[in-house]
Symmetry: C2
Subunit: 120 residues, 2 copies
DNA sequence: GTTATCGGTTAACTAATGGTAACTAGTAAC
DNA sequence: GTTACTAGTTACCATTAGTTAACCGATAAC
């Protein structure tokens, strides 16, 4: 794998790659959760603490999104040996690799809003 | 506007900017259409030609997506004075600005697929 | 034994996205 | 007048995404 032969993907492969990215990062909550974990990276982020920290997210959505993020290696889940048990979630080093990607989306989005404003 | 004070957006503003970007570029067809128009930039891209060029897209979806793209200034629409009338769609110069953004999504998606493969 | 906290799950709903097929109007060839 | 091509629109349906509210077992405080 080290001798990577990338950067000559076909059109279809590129569209698939974008679909993959948006599946992993898209939706209403995933990036909010990632950012929250990154902003509180030195704290013990338990399920309830995260839920209280992210406005309006329901237990169901938080549970489901954390599972998805864990499957994709972006977030780690550690059951702590406490009573009552607590579960600690943390963004992984790999998880932090999403921020440079989203930065370009942020910049394009900010610029686009200006552009559309000028239309009126 | 020229003295742009950007790049110090709050967390919430950044999430909104990402939402904006994904609203404009997301979904099943928008980027396919953009790429198609970009790949056939020297041709006259009529509605029917585009529909034949993009596999499985229905008239309804193509019509709706082209309208969205036009509203967002990414695609231009020109009614030609022919009989029967034809309508020419083209990607705008501004529309081409999306490709650098999607490139980072492509790269992350390709890399992520490798990463997940290694898990098994 | 009642109440509260932990980390969730379950069922039932609504909203958004996209697909299918039929249909429109205008023009032209046969 | 029937067929075909232009550029779409309309109505209906299925799937997905997300919301709401109730519930679960375990543990601990009162």
């Amino acid at each position: 794998m080290r001798d990577n032969k990338r950067q000559e993907a076909t059109c279809e492969q590129e569209l698939n790659a974008i679909r993959d990215s948006l599946e992993v990062l898209g939706g209403k909550w995933k990036l909010r959760i990632m950012r929250h974990l990154n902003n509180h990276i030195n704290e013990t982020n338990t399920f309830k603490k995260i839920q209280r920290g992210i406005e309006d997210i329901s237990a169901k959505m938080l549970s489901k999104e954390l599972q998805d993020l864990e499957i994709n290696l972006l977030v780690s889940r550690t059951v702590m040996n406490t009573k009552p048990i607590t579960v600690r979630y943390a963004i992984t080093a790999y998880g932090q690799s999403v921020f440079p990607v989203t930065e370009s989306l942020v910049n394009w989005g900010l610029n686009h809003r200006q552009k559309i404003k000028q239309k009126d």
